[in-house]
């Protein structure tokens, strides 16, 4: 499964939000999008999962243009965890996960044995196997997010688009969720807030700034003190971690290094 975006433009209230965005995610690749607040990450992802319609440009899923695909066909290929997941009515966890089976079902078709197995396995994968009967509204933030992940897993799509899937989660759950996603071997495009998490999991990273793709490349190429300063306007110390062999970023806040002259080696 390959996801490709070509020259995508989007404006809201006559204000250009996305300017000529082109990107691609190869089969099985884990690609991250980083960038400051308001840089257009969520807007870009919303265009990708059709919550918003681009002004111009094309999106391809395995060489097929979105315009030629039905909503249901896209839902069979592309799973999404968005930002707004408030639920006004209470459902048991398993019914939330069962919603993930929707694109595979005909009108009025119920869940058969196979669906129930898929739902059960999805819950097990996120370690929520014994919570199937619980009410969603009474779960903690981390548990809710894992249920949403299970819903996307039950959708059985080869491609995932995720908008900061570990927002508001503690570090344990952040790692757990990304471990599960990484373990799927799916084609993933995810907005990621935490630069160190991005460094640990991403094969490639796109950096967004002011509605454009500012830079792209491997975490090693992208996550440098210079680029981070250009995009986020902060000072950092970046080095390879001896154990993970991945890039590790330490933030150097002004309250500690207010002179800006001290050189950290």
């Amino acid at each position: 499964m390959k996801l490709q975006v070509e020259n995508l433009n989007f404006s809201y209230n006559h204000q250009k939000i996305l300017k000529d965005i082109s990107l691609h995610v190869a089969n099985g690749e884990f690609v991250g999008i980083i960038g400051p607040n308001g840089s257009g990450k969520s807007t870009l992802l919303k265009n990708l999962y059709r919550a918003l319609t681009p002004d111009s440009g094309s999106i391809y899923l395995d060489q097929q243009n979105y315009r030629d695909l039905k909503v249901k066909e896209i839902a069979k290929k592309l799973g999404v965890i968005g930002q707004d997941n408030a639920l006004p009515f209470d459902f048991p966890v398993k019914e939330i996960v069962a919603m993930g089976r929707s694109p595979h079902k005909k009108l009025f078709e119920g869940d058969n044995k196979e669906d129930k197995e898929i739902i059960e396995n999805a819950l097990k994968k996120v370690e929520m196997g014994d919570m199937a009967e619980r009410n969603y509204l009474y779960l903690s933030g981390g548990e809710k997010q894992r249920v949403l992940l299970a819903r996307v897993l039950a959708q059985q799509t080869e491609c995932l688009v995720l908008d900061e899937p570990t927002n508001h989660l503690d570090i344990h759950h952040q790692l757990r969720i990304f471990d599960v996603i990484k373990g799927l071997g799916a084609t993933v495009l995810s907005a990621i807030h935490d630069l160190n998490i991005a460094a640990l999991y991403c094969d490639r990273i796109y950096v967004m700034k002011d509605g454009t793709i500012y830079k792209s490349g491997t975490p090693e190429d992208i996550l440098t003190s210079k680029t981070i300063h250009e995009v986020f306007n902060i000072k950092t110390d970046v080095r390879r971690h001896p154990v993970t062999k991945k890039v590790m970023i330490t933030y150097l806040p002004e309250s500690i290094f207010n002179k800006g002259e001290e050189k950290v080696v």
Partner: protein, 355 residues
């Protein structure tokens, strides 16, 4: 205490749908038999049963004939159509509530609160006055009520949508405002042209009543209910997904615009057809879906049929109370539902704002 799933008591939520529906079906049949006998002139339950059985071709001889002509005409001519109309009206209003709640993703939606009932009443009276749809005969009233309902739903929905999301305050306020405007229009029409309107006076439209029930009133609401129920039930997955938000429903493969248009049409049709025969009976569409969800959860596959049954049964018994409380006079049934429904609404509102 309930953390251990194995020890958790099995609630109604795990009960099979077919068991629940059989239970409600029996309850409904019981309701019809008992409620038909009750009123200013009471007819004994066994007599009601005998009269009903005598009308079934095969058993007509087995029933005997030890009842009076008066009892038969009360049961078959007055009470039975009224009870059956109550069932249909209650079911339709509840299902309208479910559809509206899925549309606006809010517990507080109800045809009465959102002004849909008032809109239907206003256009229905207008239609009667000017005879706009009179070429449609008996269905003209229902059609004009449908038009009012759809106009109000679209208006309220458009007014309460802020940045693509339904804003609860906007929803309730625009519902109230449009409802009041529509009520004033109804009042104006009924006061300025009292003769043209005959039976249907202002009180009928604003308070609701099943008193005028005739067999002929049953057909259209029944057909509308079966049609809408079927449409909603085959789309039950879409309704569930819609509760998770427009965007999520889209990513799950549903065409959100189509589903929402369908919900507007279904809710308007049900509300319009119902209000044409019963006036506006408030809060049923609010209370019944909520009680249903407390009993069996939010899955629309269950919520739709169960709330239809529950709503029908509730309206029939409320109507029994309406004709008994100050007998031989009658209370409009809408007065009773508002007395119970109003506080229920306030309770929901408080509960909602605490979340």
């Amino acid at each position: 205490m309930f953390n251990n799933i194995a020890q958790r008591p099995k609630g109604l939520k795990e009960t099979k749908l077919i068991v629940i529906l059989s239970f409600f079906l029996l309850l409904m049949i019981g309701t019809v038999i008992f409620a038909t006998g009750m009123g200013p002139v009471s007819v004994h339950t066994t007599t009601v049963l005998q009269i009903l059985i005598s009308k079934v071709p095969i058993f007509s001889n087995a029933a005997g004939d030890d009842w009076t002509q008066l009892e038969e005409s009360i049961v078959l001519g007055l009470r039975l159509p009224r009870v059956l109309l109550g069932l249909i009206v209650g079911a339709s209003l509840s299902v309208t509530g479910v559809a509206l709640q899925a549309l606006v993703r809010n517990h507080l939606a109800d045809p009465f609160i959102l002004g849909v009932s008032s809109g239907a009443s206003a256009t229905a009276t207008l239609g009667m006055l000017f005879g706009t749809f009179s070429f449609l005969g008996t269905y003209s009233l229902s059609l004009s009520a449908f038009i009012g309902a759809i106009v109000v739903i679209v208006l309220v929905y458009a007014l309460s949508r802020v940045n693509g999301k339904i804003n609860m305050t906007q929803l309730l306020l625009s519902g109230v405002a449009i409802g009041l405007i529509m009520e004033s229009i109804t009042k104006l029409i009924t006061l300025s042209a009292p003769n043209a309107l005959g039976l249907h006076n202002a009180t009928f439209w604003m308070a609701g009543s099943l008193a005028g029930a005739k067999w002929g009133y049953l057909t259209l609401p029944l057909l509308a209910m079966f049609l809408c129920m079927t449409i909603l039930l085959i789309n039950y997955r879409a309704l569930n997904a819609l509760l998770a938000g427009d965007e999520t429903a889209g990513t799950l493969g549903f065409n959100v615009n189509v589903i929402q248009t369908m919900l507007v049409l279904v809710a308007s049709l049900l509300a319009g057809v119902t209000i044409a025969v019963s006036g506006s009976i408030g809060f049923v569409g609010l209370m019944v879906p909520h009680i249903t969800r407390l009993l069996i959860g939010s899955d629309h596959k269950k919520v739709l049929p169960v709330s239809a049954f529950l709503g029908g049964i509730l309206v029939v018994w409320t109507d029994v109370a309406a004709r008994l409380i100050i007998a031989p006079e009658e209370l409009p049934i809408g007065v009773l539902t508002a007395i119970f429904g109003g506080p229920f609404f306030i309770w929901l509102l408080k509960r909602n704002s605490r979340k």
